[in-house]
Amino acid sequence: MELQSRVKDLQAKGIGLATISYDSREVLAAFAKQHGVTFPMLADPGSETIKRYGILNTVVAEAFGPNKDDPAVKADVQRYISVVNPSPNMQGIAFPGTFMLDRQGRVTSRFFEDFYVERNTVSSVMKRLGVGTDAVAGSKISTEHLDLTTYPSDAAIAPGNRFSVVLEITPKRGMHVYAPGASGYRVVTLNIAEQPFVKTLAPAYPQSEVYHFKPLNERVPVYQKPFRLVQEIVIEGDVKAQAAFRGKESLTISASLDYQACDDKICYNPVSVPLSWTLNLRPLVLQRPTVSR
C-alpha cells in the first residue's frame, strides 16, 4: 500500500497522515489488517464529511439518474468514474484527492488525481506525443504560486517504448517562476527519480520572457503566462529490462517539480512538488493464443 510506505518519512517530517472514505469501519479494519496500515483510516459512511468538504462525486448518482444521457453527464462519467461500469453502490464516494495542511488546518497545496484527460481537448499535444487511444489519468495540483495539470502521453507502455509526461503550469496572478538562464534562482526543473531501465531525455522548455525586477534592476528569463513542459522518457527494452518488468502490471514514475516563484515585491522559498505517473505495463511478447479443439 503506497501510503504506508511513506509513513516513516512523513513522521520524520512531523506531518500527520489520515485517509477518509465512505467505507464502514469494518471494511477499513479488514483492509488495514490485510495491508499492515498503521495510520488512521477514517470512516465516513453516509459521506457527511465528504459532503461538507464539497467533494462528493455527484457524477455517480447522475450516471443512474434521469439526465444520464445528457452529453455533459456522459462525458463526466467517462472522466471521473473508473473505466469499469459505474455501479449504484459507488454512490457516496469522494472525488479522490489529497490536501496538504498546515497546523492550523489551512490548505498549503492540493492534489486532485484520477480524472481521465480527454484526448480531444489536448489533441495537438497528444498527436505529437503518443499514438495510444486510451484516456490517460491526470492530476491537478495547486500551490500558493501556481496551478499545474500533469498527465502522461500514454496510458500503457511496453518495454522499449518512449512516452512523455506533460506539465501544464499556470503561475498564479502576479507570480512568475524562473526559466533556463536565470542565474541565482532555482530554475523550474522536473527531476525524475532514478529507476532501473528508465531513462529521461532532455526536457523541452518553451520560450520564456524577460522580466525586469525593478528593486534590483535585474533582467531575468521567467515564465509568467501559462506554459507547458514536456519530458520524454524511455523504458529500456533489452533482455535485462524485459526480465525485470515481466509479471509487473504497472510502472510508477516519481518525480519532483522544483521551482522558485517571486511576485513583483518578494521572492518565495524554492518549492519541490512531488509528482508521479502510473502507467500500465503491456508485455513486450504476447502469449501464443491457445487453440481449442
Partner: protein, 74 residues
C-alpha cells in the same frame, strides 16, 4: 429582400440558447473543495480501530496530509 430574410433568420437562429435540451456545465474537480489558503472543515470520525479522530488528533507538529480515497474495498 431575400438577403434580408436570410440575415434575419440567421440572427434568430444564433440567438437561440445552445444546449436548450439542458446540457449542464462540466465538472472541474480543481474548483471543488477547500482551495489553497482556506481552512478545511473540522470532523469527528472513527478510524479503523474504533478510535474517534478529529482534525486536531490526526495533525502532526508540522501539519498533515489528508487523503480522500474512493474506497478501500474496490
Amino acid at each position: 429582400m431575400r438577403s434580408l430574410y436570410l440575415v434575419a433568420t440567421l440572427a434568430m437562429l444564433l440567438s437561440l440558447p445552445l444546449g436548450a435540451q439542458g446540457t449542464r456545465t462540466r465538472i472541474d474537480v480543481s474548483k471543488l473543495g477547500p482551495q489553497v489558503g482556506e481552512r478545511v472543515p473540522d470532523f469527528t470520525l472513527f478510524d479503523q480501530t474504533g478510535k474517534g479522530q478529529t482534525l486536531q488528533s490526526i495533525m502532526g507538529r508540522r501539519g498533515a496530509m489528508l487523503v480522500f480515497i474512493r474506497s478501500a474495498d474496490w
